[in-house]
């Protein structure tokens, strides 16, 4: 047994798959302990806030300010305000006014701004320039002037008695605060989703639920498959005929179609994560049954089974002691595949909106479902669906890698 374990961990594929899987498991276990946020709490008003560090504006005004004179501060500020559309407009005006095109670099903010302020003349007109165009250029010029202003912003507070604004302080352009001193800061590494929920926290919780669904469904499918396969293969005869009839029947009906029909007929109210797991398990045992059966059929005529019979052992003893150990490795591999396919099945089902009920738990499939409904892929809110896809891919990849690794250890024909 120890030898076997050593062999399994000598397989590079298995070790890589196992490490990824354990990594995912550890994150799922440790993250909620470190950050005990409720996973489905709505924190954002509005949808799809981009990933980043969120700093409370009110608090940052009233924490102590530090004056830092940084050279590139102005340029950075303008660069972040000047979007690519404005830059192209500047380029267009400059070239139209006869400025050599080769000298214009729209990426170089400082140079571009310099060229603009030195050359812009609101009275100039070119052929094909509409009034709207002219007004746009004047507006652009004014806003750039605002950006270039060096005056600070005044913060006014309303006096409750006189209802007049009174100056409470001035925020200069070179005022800085230390984020650590701000009482309210929240890091949202993956932003928020369509309901304003922290995607990362939700993702970790969803991964946990999906893994549980995978384990439950995989275990159910493997257990049913194993029992039916053993009975069908070892006892044979009419038992085999009956079991194989149902197995063949289920083989020809695509199990995903069956899954959809069953989930639909259960109804929205009864569909919990556990119910879905059971349904997936109940529809995916077919392949395990067939595989176990064929293994058992080849085993039952082996001499060691005959010897065990001649030693007077009962059928149940022979199945447990002489058949099961020989197919154990095979069953473990089948279980791993079943888990991975159950996770994918849940995802597929949930994308169609037939997954578990939505108010209590998130699953990986549900997250994709929400992202799709709120058009995240079209609007470019990548953080709402990319991380989910990556997690699903990683789980399936790690499980399949473990399976191939095990296959190489258990199946001598595949060894190098």
């Amino acid at each position: 047994m120890r030898h076997l374990t050593r062999q399994v961990f000598n397989s590079g594929k298995f070790v890589v798959g196992f490490s990824i899987f354990v990594g995912i498991l550890l994150i799922v276990i440790i993250y909620p302990i470190l950050f005990p946020y409720p996973p489905l709490e709505i924190i954002g008003q509005g949808n799809f806030f981009p990933p980043g560090l969120y700093v409370n504006v009110y608090d940052s005004i009233f924490t102590s300010h530090y004056i830092l004179n940084l050279d590139d501060a102005t340029a950075n500020r303008i660069a972040s305000k000047l979007d690519s559309e404005d830059r192209l407009a500047i380029q267009k005006w400059l070239t139209a006014s006869g400025f050599p095109e080769s000298e214009i670099d729209i990426e170089n903010t400082a140079q571009l701004l310099d060229q603009w302020t030195n050359n812009f003349d609101p009275t100039k007109r070119f052929p094909g320039m509409t009034n709207a165009d002219r007004n746009y250029f004047i507006r652009l010029n004014n806003s750039l002037k605002g950006l270039l202003s060096t005056e600070g912003a005044i913060i006014a507070v309303e006096n409750p008695e006189t209802a007049s604004l009174e100056e409470a302080g001035v925020v200069a352009q070179n005022d800085y605060i230390v984020v650590n001193e701000v009482p309210n800061v929240r890091l949202l590494p993956l932003g928020t989703d369509n309901f304003g929920r922290d995607v990362l926290t939700e993702l970790v919780a969803a991964t946990k639920v999906s893994l549980i669904i995978g384990f439950v469904a995989g275990s159910i499918a493997t257990l049913i498959g194993l029992i039916l396969g053993l009975l069908s293969g070892y006892i044979g005869g009419q038992v085999d005929d009956v079991i194989m009839f149902f197995t063949n029947l289920l083989t020809v009906i695509p199990s995903f179609v069956l899954l959809i029909l069953i989930s639909f007929s259960i109804g929205q109210e009864q569909r919990g994560a556990f119910t879905i797991a059971v349904v997936i398990g109940l529809t995916s045992w077919v392949w395990t049954t067939r595989a176990v059966r064929s293994q058992v059929i080849s085993l039952r005529n082996r001499d060691h089974v005959n010897l065990s019979k001649l030693s007077g052992h009962s059928i149940s003893y022979i199945i447990i002691a002489d058949i099961l150990p020989y197919i154990a490795s095979y069953v473990v591999m089948a279980l791993i595949l079943q888990i991975s396919s159950a996770i994918l099945a849940e995802a597929g089902l949930s994308i169609l909106g037939l997954g578990p009920r939505t108010t209590e738990v998130a699953t990986l499939g549900l997250m994709l479902n929400w992202a799709l409904i709120y058009q995240a892929p079209i609007l470019g809110y990548w953080w709402a669906f990319y991380p989910v896809i990556i997690v699903i891919a990683l789980i399936a990849f790690s499980l399949n890698l473990m399976n191939t690794g095990l296959d190489q250890v258990f199946n001598p024909a595949l060894r190098e």
């Binding site: 082996r302 001499d303 060691h304 005959n306 010897l307 065990s308 019979k309 001649l310 030693s311 007077g312 052992h313 009962s314 059928i315 002691a321 002489d322 150990p325 020989y326």
Partner: protein, 270 residues
Amino acid sequence: MADERKLCLSGTGITKVFGIGRNKTTAVNHVDFNFYEGEIISIVGESGSGKTTLAKMLLGLINPTEGEIYFQGVKRDISSHRKKKEYWKNIQAIFQDPFSSYNIFRKIDSVLLDCIHMRGGRGLPYDQKVELMTEACRFVNLKFDELTNKYPFELSGGQQQRLMIARIFLLKPQILLADEPTSMIDACSRATILDMLMQLRDEIGMTPIFITHDIGLAYYVSDTVYIMEKGEFVEKGSADEVILHPKEPYTRRLISDVPKIYEEWDLSTV
């Protein structure tokens, strides 16, 4: 041959058909035989002749499609597990490939303990069981104290086959079916295995039945030889009679095709 020898195992019209419909193949076709106690029997046939199927039917591992098997003149009844267990106290087997004959997950002690339990020794104190196992191992030139906690696959082919004989030593059956007992082991160990089987036969008075494709082996060990072709016995008789003076064309061909060393091996006959 109505003589005073005691019938040990006999059968009438034994037939085994595999498959149904167009895939139907008759492995054993209406075979009759009388095996007497004390004689050494060989059933010789090429691969596909049905000899292994017949052996499995004799062992009660598969049921004949037709025909009855009589054990010591009484119709065999193996309809329940209890009755089968009773039958298997009387008939045991040694299989061809020692490497696949043992459950690789069970240790040598447990293989031998099974035999003691089968002989009703379940209640014996452990010391006594060890003594029995040591005796059995000594008989086949193995050292039991070196084998405890070992697995059968850690032994060489010859040693595994000897362990199989130790098993028979403990079980003391009336009949031993040896299905190609030496074909997978080296020539040098062959003599050891055959000697041990003969010695065991004298010790516990069992009737050995050799199932083999090796005509030389059949000639060397047996009193009575049955030649099997396509599920039927084509010739039977004493070893000298059948092998040195074969009557049937099939037997003659079979024997002429075996390489010889003292006589000329005539290659022109094929």
